[in-house]
Amino acid sequence: MADKPNNNAYWSANIRLVTICLVIWAVVSYGFAILLRPMLSGIAVGGTDLGFWFAQQGSILVFLVLIFFYAWRMNKLDKEHGVDE
């Protein structure tokens, strides 16, 4: 099929994008909110520290941004690689 190489480029661009998004996903939740919280304890937020804020508010907000960014970027990639509907 003629569009095979095209699809490969599309797929690796997708994998790259997913990897970047999932690294951020892991850093804010497992990192900032839990395991790296002691490192952020110096940054005070409303009577506690930044890690607590990430655990109860920040991670969810970042997740939201990630999903919309991914959807926007992928729908653009679909068009660039001619695999959109």
Partner: protein, 591 residues
């Protein structure tokens, strides 16, 4: 008008709305029954997904879990939202492209194996049945409290209600009912939260109020709310609210909830209802927007309710006298009737001392002040959100709204789960395996009958509940994480994964996780059948945290077995290629 009448009116109106929608949008074909004819707008689907997803555990139990534990239970907040990132990027768009009706159907086709499909059916049924228990108990509690019937009767009413509209509606009816239920539940959840946040901090947005200073006129005015709360709870011997221990276990549990969320079949099938792959991506984002409205509010609800309970029990501060038995607010009496709240004046001083008996230094303090033990002897965490408007002295219609919201949350999720169960039975078992020649009409009937059977089973399990609603649900996550998620993901991201690898991998994940759960929590959670105790955890891992370990076993077994056996045939590799690109999803629409 008394409170019960008001509750019955508001709940009754919301039910009329659901029944009306169910009749208007009843399913006429299997495509409508299983996938709402694939014509649902992505924003609407996002809203339905939020209701489908936010269960009795999210609505009723989660704020209570956070309130009484604090920071450590942030795992629920991150776990139950972070899973959507995985679902949006690793599963939903591709499974929508595949364009069939059920999760086991994808597994059966991708792994060209009826055996794999049957293992997936078993996994789906175990997960969904475990999950539905929490919905039934949650609905039972809400009915019993607000409509003044006992929990068993409440459970029967809940079952009968779900029966009517799940059997009639199918996916199409369920979708639009869920949209209405989302509106009811989010209003019910946020209105009391906004009132309480204003009372305590003067900030109308609860998520911001949580990090604000106490409002003038409240105890601790001018200091941050979390500092005030930390001070009160530690003075009474409880753990500090904003800190926790064992970060690695927290991370593991969060991971278990995230992977589990992404692998829940009743949520995945919601993405089959949108017209295109691009819609599935947007829809996942919208789902999380609607979910986040509740999840960003829940931690504030938890912390503020805890603070309100503390100041109710200690109106003169911790140094002063505790609340007198005669001065207990009215909601204490209404909740004591349900048996979920109980006080006992152990030292006979006419006051109710609420503190943590086993806290450091508390025995000395109790001896000094003449306390004879904690006198708030029962406080079921599940009642916290339901009692919240009463705790904060909000008007009667807000209390009625909470009743309607709690029921909307439980019923919308129950309907989604029952659909996943019944479509697995009627489509994967009957249509594809037992009786492939069944007519369209026959399959619809089979779907409705299997739904009825699932409701009977769920009711029985709801009458013998294994624990708090949220914990019951947490177990379903371990199983979803260990069985379905890895298999679905490998089906999309690895062309080399074959039938034998996937089947053995799924079995490894499912069996190891089930055994680990049953060993500590009882065979099918039946009390007294556990054969290991909590001091015998493998590497200190509690059964609710086992999901990621099961997932790793699944991946590892699948990889090893697939490398030792032949690669999948050419047409399967082409199938994987086609699932990876969006073009053509619309064409698969009416299959």
């Amino acid at each position: 008008m008394d409170q019960t009448t008001l509750n019955i009116i508001v709940v009754g109106l919301s039910f009329c709305l659901y029944f009306g929608i169910a009749i208007w949008a009843r399913a006429g074909s299997t495509s409508e029954f299983y996938a709402a004819g694939r014509g649902v707008n992505p924003v609407i689907n996002g809203m339905a997904t939020a209701a489908d997803w936010m269960s009795a555990a999210s609505f009723i139990s989660m704020a209570g879990l956070i309130a009484f534990v604090g920071y450590s239970n942030s795992t629920f907040l991150m776990g139950w939202t972070g899973g959507y990132v995985l679902m949006a990027m690793l599963l939903a768009p591709y499974l929508r492209k595949f364009g069939k009706y059920t999760v086991p159907e994808f597994i059966g086709d991708r792994y060209y194996s009826t055996a794999a499909r049957m293992v997936a059916v078993v996994a789906l049924i175990v997960i969904s049945v475990t999950y539905v228990i929490g919905q039934m108990t949650g609905a039972g509690v809400a009915f019993s409290r607000f409509l003044e019937v006992d929990v068993t009767t409440g459970l029967y009413i809940a079952s009968a209600t779900v029966f009517v509209y799940a059997v009639l509606g199918g996916m199409k009816g369920i979708t639009y009912t869920q949209v209405a239920q989302y509106v009811v539940l989010i209003i019910a959840y946020t209105i009391p939260a906004i009132f309480i946040s204003l009372q305590l901090t003067g900030n109308p947005i609860p998520g911001l109020g949580l990090f604000s200073n106490m409002a003038p006129g409240t105890a601790g005015a001018g200091t941050p709310l979390l500092v005030t709360l930390d001070g009160l709870v530690t003075d009474l011997g409880f753990n500090q609210y904003t800190t926790g221990s064992s970060p690695w276990l927290m991370a593991l549990f969060t991971l278990s909830l995230m992977i589990g969320t992404a692998g829940l079949p009743h949520v995945i099938i919601r993405f089959f209802t949108v017209p295109k792959v691009a819609d599935a991506r947007w829809s996942a984002g919208w789902a999380l927007v609607f979910i986040a409205l509740l999840y960003l509010t829940a931690p504030a609800v938890g912390a503020m309710a805890r603070l309100n309970i503390m100041t109710t029990m200690w109106p003169n501060g911790v140094e002063g006298e505790a609340v007198a038995v005669d001065d207990l607010p009215d909601w204490f009496e209404t909740w004591q009737v349900t048996g979920l709240l109980g006080v006992e004046d152990k030292n006979g001083d006419g006051l109710i001392q609420y503190y943590n008996e086993s806290g450091a230094g508390m025995a000395e303090l109790a001896a000094e002040r003449g306390w004879a033990g904690n006198e708030l002897i029962t406080f079921n965490r599940d009642i916290l959100v339901l009692a919240n408007p009463e705790i904060a002295n909000l008007p009667g219609w807000v209390i009625a709204l909470i009743a309607a919201g709690g029921l909307a949350a439980a019923l919308s999720t129950a309907a989604g789960l029952l659909l996943a169960i019944s479509s697995a039975i009627s489509h994967d078992l009957i249509k594809s395996t037992l009786n492939p020649n069944i007519s369209e009409k026959g399959e619809l009937l089979a779907a409705r009958i299997s739904m009825a059977g699932a409701i009977v089973l769920a009711t029985y399990l709801g009458l013998n509940p294994p624990g708090f609603a949220a914990q019951t649900v947490a177990l379903a996550f371990g199983l979803a994480a260990a069985s379905l998620f890895p298999t679905l993901m490998m089906g999309i991201f690895s062309k080399r994964m074959n039938s034998a690898g996937a089947t053995w991998g799924m079995l490894a994940g499912l069996i190891s996780t089930s055994l680990y759960l049953f060993a500590y929590l009882g065979v099918f959670f039946i009390p007294g059948t556990a054969w290991l105790t909590s001091d015998q955890y493998l590497f200190g891992i509690p059964p609710t945290h086992f999901g990621p370990i099961g997932a790793v076993l699944n991946f590892a077994v699948a990889f090893l077995v697939s490398r030792a056996t032949a690669a999948p045939p050419e047409h399967i590799q082409e199938l994987v290629e086609s699932v990876r690109i969006p073009r053509g999803a619309g064409a698969a629409m009416n299959k």
